[in-house]
Amino acid sequence: MTSPAPNVLVVEDEPQMRRFLRAGFELDGFQVHEAETAAAGVRLATLRPFDLIIVDLGLPDKDGSHVVERVRSWSTVPMIVLSVRSHEDEKVRLLDTGADDYVVKPFGMAELLARTRAALRRKSPASVLQPIVGVGPLSIDLAHRIVERQGVRIQLTPKEFRLLQILAQHAGKVVTHQHLLREIWGAAHIDAAHYLRILVRKIRKKIEVNPTQPAILLTELGVGYRLAAPRDQHAGT
């Protein structure tokens, strides 16, 4: 985070929340812009480009997911949702709407900043062009469809590779069960979540040192799966 200070838009109606978010982000070198309502948030987002948008779910005029949906229709800017509720269903809904991450209130600033860095990293040009994704001892060569652990090639079935490929394309971000099922088995099997559990167990046996304590293919219980943060840009999380 050098050269031009990244811009963050905070869409939050509670003044105290805005004050601490402003202090926290400014101390970390961000330039902070604020909006109190969903409408103002969407309007500000159209006026200028932001590097990150933080959206509270409970806004006075409209639900925060409305902001996510509207902004996502034209922008790839990372968006993190704040909410007092921690229902898995809601996380899934928000992630599928286009949110990058979801933080449950109350939270510490360090946690939010860590999530922010992860989201920014995923959008950085370096990660987009990366044909080989390295996670821990694993490297996934997306172009040649080769997966190696510490230089040793791992044999994967087509579906196993497909799952790793999707997660690698979103490395560090949670991909929902529904998304994975649709991509791997097709829309007809969107409810067959146990296919996914079985496939993940098989992959973990091949790629993890300890399959019951996974370090690469991580579970977001009730929501989906994600690949641990990529090795190359591993910076201070």
């Binding site: 926290g24 704040l82 007092v84 898995e88 993940v200 304590q213 579970t219 219980l221």
Partner: protein, 529 residues
């Protein structure tokens, strides 16, 4: 005659004593059955007489007499007794093949037999009808019990009136509806003035707000049917009518039918008065209101309390990390206290909300298949901060079946167990979490090296608000954690148990969750290629 016909629940006639419409035909049928029963035993009587050469073989006929009395009643038993006397005279007593009996001793024996048989049949049939009446009473009591249970469980006045309507309908065995003229909360009760014949509606309107206490009968010319209208219980409270559709009743029978229906309604109304319908209705209304109030409180609490908590925790986390504070150990520790206490408060609020939700409506789990290690890792991750002073060890089997559970409920329940383990054992000690298969369940056990349990604690720890005597004054806690955990696990169709550790001090809490079947552990053919 829809009301009176074949009604087995009629209260005015004890069962078993002639509730049929045509008694003589039934008596004839029972007499025939008695005769046949006695005749069926005749070969046995003759056999006893011939083989044992006893003259008093007629005593064997007491068996069919008792059988007939028990199964078909008095008429049948007396017929069997007389048949027994006749066949004995015919086959056994000299001269045989004649109904005459010459030997005075035989005459005496026959007379004794007949008397004994008559007394026996009387006693048996009395016993039989007593049993039938008792059974009838039991049925009525069961019905009344079910009715009062339904009343006390009702959460809206409408449910209570539906229950009353059904109850009275069962009693009368005919068509009864309830029409409320006032006190109806939303006017949603089934019957309104529009549903009844115009003549009935007119009569109700004419009676106005203060109807006479007794019943009235209204004739509906268009359908040639009669309706009996009876105002509601003589209690203050909701007012309205029982409407009984008597159907087409001949004028000559009308008085009797009306009398009978009135008598049944008297009984029903007496019951309603005993059950204090007014209070019950008011309570149901109160329950409905308090349930919606509670939902509103739960909703606004989670927003209203968490939002300031979020500001406090966020601000404190920034302060704790800020240079001037971080450099001063005393200030830094104060800032850390704010953060950790806020987290604790947040956990307590979560428990309160969980408890309120459980008490209000119970939980509606959405079970899915979960990898057991995913569940355990998620709970451990969520409680990382609480267990920071402890050594945590995991022993998870490699090939455990998946479990059926609601991810959120199961993770919270397991998290509460980890919370407890950390809270009630010394920092530096071990908390071990293990999972293994047990039959068609997967058992996840949390072992700590803390105080352990005494017998009273073991028996009561899953009770709401219970806290062990030894920790009550020394450790903070709400007494809700284990109760919530056991409720959540119960909702997932799992089991939870607690016990002192076998080989060393400490407590072991075990959660069992239903394991996936073999089929659920397999991809359909060729799916993974």
């Amino acid at each position: 005659m829809r009301i009176a016909a074949g009604n087995s629940m009629s209260l005015d006639q004890p069962a078993g004593q002639g509730s049929s419409d045509v008694p003589w035909r039934r008596h004839l049928w029972h007499a025939l059955l008695g005769l046949l029963t006695a005749l069926a035993f005749t070969p046995a009587v003759i056999a006893v007489h011939v083989t044992l050469d006893v003259n008093d073989a007629s005593i064997v006929y007491l068996i069919p007499v008792v059988i007939a009395a028990n199964r078909y009643g008095m008429t049948s038993a007396l017929t069997a007794a007389l048949s027994g006397t006749a066949t004995s005279a015919f086959f056994i007593y000299h001269p045989i093949y004649s109904l005459r009996v010459l030997n005075p001793q035989d005459v005496m024996a026959l007379m004794i037999f007949t008397t004994v048989a008559a007394i026996t049949s009387h006693l048996s049939s009395v016993a039989r009808s007593t049993a039938a009446i008792a059974e009838q009473r039991t049925r009525e009591l069961e019905m009344l019990y079910a009715f009062s249970r339904r009343l006390s469980a009702a959460s809206a006045p409408e449910e209570i009136f539906a229950a009353i309507q059904e109850h009275v309908t069962t009693l009368l065995g005919g068509k009864v509806s309830i029409l409320r003229t006032e006190g109806s909360a939303s006017g949603t009760m089934g019957t309104t003035l529009d549903d009844v014949p115009a003549a009935v509606a007119a009569a109700i309107r004419q009676a106005g707000r203060e109807p006479a206490a007794g019943s009235m009968v209204v004739s509906d010319e268009s359908s040639h049917s009669h309706w009996l209208l009876r105002p509601f219980p003589r209690i203050p409270g909701p007012s309205g009518y029982f409407l009984v559709d008597l159907g087409t009743v001949a004028a000559i029978e009308l008085g009797a039918v009306r009398q009978r229906v009135d008598r049944l309604l008297d009984d029903a109304i007496a019951t309603l008065e005993r059950l204090d319908i007014e209070t019950t209705v008011a309570e149901a209304e109160y329950r409905r209101q308090s349930a919606s109030l509670r939902d509103a409180v739960i909703g606004s609490t989670s927003h209203g309390l968490r939002t300031p908590l979020a500001s406090i925790m966020g601000s404190a986390s920034i302060l704790a990390a800020a240079e001037p504070v971080a450099q001063d150990p005393r200030l830094a520790s104060l800032a850390r206290i704010i953060v950790s206490e806020t987290e604790r408060l947040n956990g307590d609020i979560q428990k309160m909300l969980d408890a309120a939700m459980l008490s209000a409506a119970g939980v509606k789990p959405q079970p899915v298949l979960i990898e057991p290690s995913d569940l355990i890792n998620a709970a451990v991750e969520a409680k990382r901060r609480e267990m920071v002073g402890h050594r945590v060890s995991l022993d998870l089997g490699d090939d455990l079946p998946f479990v059926h559970a609601d991810p959120q409920l199961a993770r919270e329940a397991l998290g509460l167990l980890l919370d407890n383990a950390a809270r009630y054992s010394e920092p530096g000690t071990n908390i071990s979490i293990s999972a293994r298969r047990e039959g068609n369940m997967v058992a996840i056990a949390v072992d700590d090296e803390g105080l352990g349990l005494d017998e009273a604690e073991r028996l009561r720890l899953f009770e709401k608000f219970y806290r062990g005597a030894r920790v009550r004054d020394t450790t903070r806690g709400s007494g809700l954690g284990l109760w919530i955990a056991s409720s959540f696990i119960g909702a997932c169709e799992g089991r939870i148990s607690i016990a002192p550790r076998a080989t060393q001090p400490g407590t072991c809490v075990t959660i069992q969750l239903p394991a996936a079947t073999e089929d659920e552990m397999r991809l359909p053919g060729g799916q993974d290629d």
